[in-house]
């Protein structure tokens, strides 16, 4: 379709051009002064009207539009800047608060630790004392027991040996002589065990 129109156009153009060509005498139409005055007149008129309308009505409007947009954008940028500053200061405040609370937490932790350490120390001292006391008591008991033990052993030894002798010989043996022998033995034995 477009092709057809295109070729038709070229064809008719060709006819038209031939017709014009026959009537043309040559030379530059620009240098023909026949319509110079008309052109000057219409140029002055159209250009003048266009210039007046443009300069009085349209260009000030465009200029005002541009200025308005510029100022609006400037205002927006300023507002954004302000908000950014405020947010930055808030961020700083927030960071300060965090720092302060961190310090506080640290102090509290330190105090608590010291307190706990003190408590533990005091309790430990008390416990140590108690333990020492109990150890002393136990040692004393052991000492008394140790001290009383040879006598008891001697006594038991004397009694058993008298019983043994009674059963073996069937006669009463003098208690005092047995005790003397046992004491003697015990002394020797004790020297052996405890190294006097």
């Amino acid at each position: 379709m477009i092709k057809k129109i295109f070729f038709q156009f070229i064809f008719f153009n060709f006819l038209f051009v031939k017709e014009v060509f026959a009537a043309e005498s040559g030379g530059m139409p620009q240098l023909n002064p026949e319509f110079w005055i008309s052109q000057i007149f219409w140029l002055t008129l159209t250009f003048g009207i266009m210039y007046i309308v443009l300069s009085k009505l349209i260009l000030p409007k465009i200029s005002a539009n541009l200025e308005l947009r510029k100022s609006q954008i400037q205002e927006n940028i300023e507002a954004a800047e302000k908000q950014r500053e405020s947010s930055e200061s808030k961020l700083k405040e927030y960071e300060e608060i965090i720092l302060k609370s961190k310090l506080k937490a640290k102090n509290i932790f330190k105090d608590a630790r010291e307190k706990a350490l003190k408590d533990i120390n005091s309790k430990k001292e008390i416990l140590d004392k108690q333990i020492d006391e109990e150890i002393n008591n136990a040692e004393k008991e052991i000492e008394t027991l140790r001290k009383s033990a040879p006598k008891k052993i001697n006594k038991i030894a004397i009694e058993t040996s008298t019983e043994l002798l009674k059963k073996l010989i069937g006669a009463e043996v003098n208690n005092s002589s047995i005790s003397a022998i046992v004491d003697d033995l015990a002394k020797r034995e004790r020297e052996k065990y405890y190294g006097s």
Partner: protein
């Protein structure tokens, strides 16, 4: 059998003949495209400035980008003193640009391909800049023709050259735009004629040239408008900030 590539530049009357005194000011196809270009500029920039949303739509973006583009161009070349002339240079740039661009549409008329149009614009700029220069600096503006640091022997020659170059400004400004537009459109027409005469067999090569040239011409259309505006800024800079 190529068609005459100059027929596209012919001006013809649309509607009745209008005369003021002995002057013929009839509405022509050139006038039609001047009106179309001006109206298009007004419509585009009016729609582009109607509502001001923080996130511009396409037309608003177009209008604001054009505004800042021209504004930057002026402040770069002519400094802050040129601010009062912003509207004029903006209108000038847009008018030339839209006329050039409308000329790129097939079967349209290119207003700026006529020497009289570009010469009127350039002449107006030249006279305006000269008046501004004399108003700002008085006769000190003539120092423009006396560059500093030139040996006294060479001075008469230099002054003559400077004056000639100053006076040729409107000519160079207008001829540059007119010749660029005319040459481009003529070339495109010639290649188009080749396409027709070579037919479907051999026409593809000039057709591809024509396509490439269209791209180039769109670039030239923008570039010439830009050059026209920036040269105006440079002349204005000379008048505002005399630094010779």
């Amino acid at each position: 059998m190529a068609a005459n590539p100059m027929t596209q530049f012919e001006v013809y009357r649309i509607g009745p003949e209008i005369k003021i005194g002995t002057f013929d000011i009839s509405f022509t196809n050139a006038s039609l495209f001047m009106v179309i270009s001006s109206l298009a500029i007004l419509v585009v920039f009016n729609l582009g400035s109607k509502k001001n949303s923080l996130l511009p739509d396409k037309l608003q973006l177009l209008a604001e980008l054009s505004y800042s583009f021209v504004s930057k161009m002026i402040s770069d070349t002519a400094g802050t003193k040129a601010k009062p002339y912003f509207s004029f240079i903006f209108s000038l740039f847009m008018f030339v640009l839209f006329c050039n661009m409308f000329g790129m549409i097939p079967y349209t008329f290119t207003v700026t391909s006529h020497i009289i149009v570009t010469f009127v614009l350039a002449g107006f700029i030249f006279i305006g800049v000269t008046i501004i220069g004399f108003l700002k600096h008085g006769f000190g503006y003539l120092k423009l023709f006396v560059p500093s640091g030139v040996p006294l022997v060479l001075l008469p020659l230099i002054v003559v050259i400077e004056i000639i170059s100053y006076l040729s400004r409107p000519v160079s400004l207008s001829v540059r735009l007119f010749a660029n537009m005319m040459a481009g459109h003529t070339m495109m027409k010639v290649f188009g004629g080749f396409v027709v005469s070579l037919g479907i067999v051999g026409g593809w090569l000039p057709l591809s040239f024509s396509v490439a040239l269209t791209g180039l011409e769109i670039l030239v259309a923008f570039l010439q408008a830009y050059v026209f505006a920036i040269l105006t800024c440079i002349y204005l800079n000379d008048a505002l900030n005399l630094h010779h």
